[in-house]
């Protein structure tokens, strides 16, 4: 009985903790372009990121974008052990 309760509690925590969320960061008056750039950083325990770069600048550079149209950031968290941040930039 006690074991089952613990398992259920752990299951709830797991369900609560492994979600992703995409949020808009910015939008400009530039026309919606044909290019998409992405930069991603994955960290562990919320602090170990090893100098990764998920900046808007890097995402734009990876996509060859000079005029940014929209910027979204997607964050993912698995049990507070693995955290990832992904910046997606569209533009021309």
């Amino acid at each position: 009985m006690k074991k089952m309760k613990i398992a259920m509690l752990l299951g709830s925590v797991a369900l609560m903790s492994s979600c992703s969320l995409t949020l808009p960061v910015n939008a400009t008056s530039n026309t919606v372009g044909t290019k998409v750039g992405r930069a991603k950083a994955t960290g562990y325990l919320g602090c170990l990121f090893f100098n990764q770069d998920a900046s808007i600048r890097t995402a734009a550079k990876n996509g060859g974008i000079t005029k940014i149209s929209t910027v979204d950031i997607k964050s993912r968290n698995i049990l507070y052990i693995v955290n990832s941040y992904e910046t997606i930039v569209t533009g021309e």
């Binding site: 709830s12 369900l15 609560m16 492994s18 969320l21 995409t22 044909t34 998409v36 990876n62 996509g63």
Partner: protein, 179 residues
Amino acid sequence: MKFRKFLLIFQASVCLFLTACTSVKPGSVKGGSNLYETFYQGGSTMYFVKPLKFPTVLKNGSLEMDFTFRSSGKESDTAVMRFSILGNDVLKSLDSFTIQNGLTQVKFTVVEHMFSESKGNQYLNRFSATTNVSQVKSLFEQAEWVITIYNKEKKVTFKSNHKTDKNIIRIQKKVMAVL
């Protein structure tokens, strides 16, 4: 009785968490998959297939390739492939590169160099090439890609691993099948 109550509360909580767990996305973005993003652009949809990783066959290094394309159902729809080559050499240009998947082989002779930069002990070289959507569709019809780059009589081969093959199949089912 107490246990049944607890079970009921647990089930309700799970339903609540599952509902709340779906990702929140801005209006222009649909999908939420880890492999691709779609952007509605009034009349057509822009697809972005996130980087697929191909390790080298011989030395340390890898190639990551992403695809951006709009699909309006026309033959002339173009797709842009951008790829990063991580290796021990700085590459300012490529003579050509080919992608083959057992069914088809596509050769690209016009490859644009975007930038090169150091990354740890290696160099990251980014390039872009343009093709059409129908060729991209034909590539995704089968997994087990082999990408070969040719530069000054040197050639380097990259092969998809098991994880990349699984991702190619998923992209075929979720994106290419509906184009």
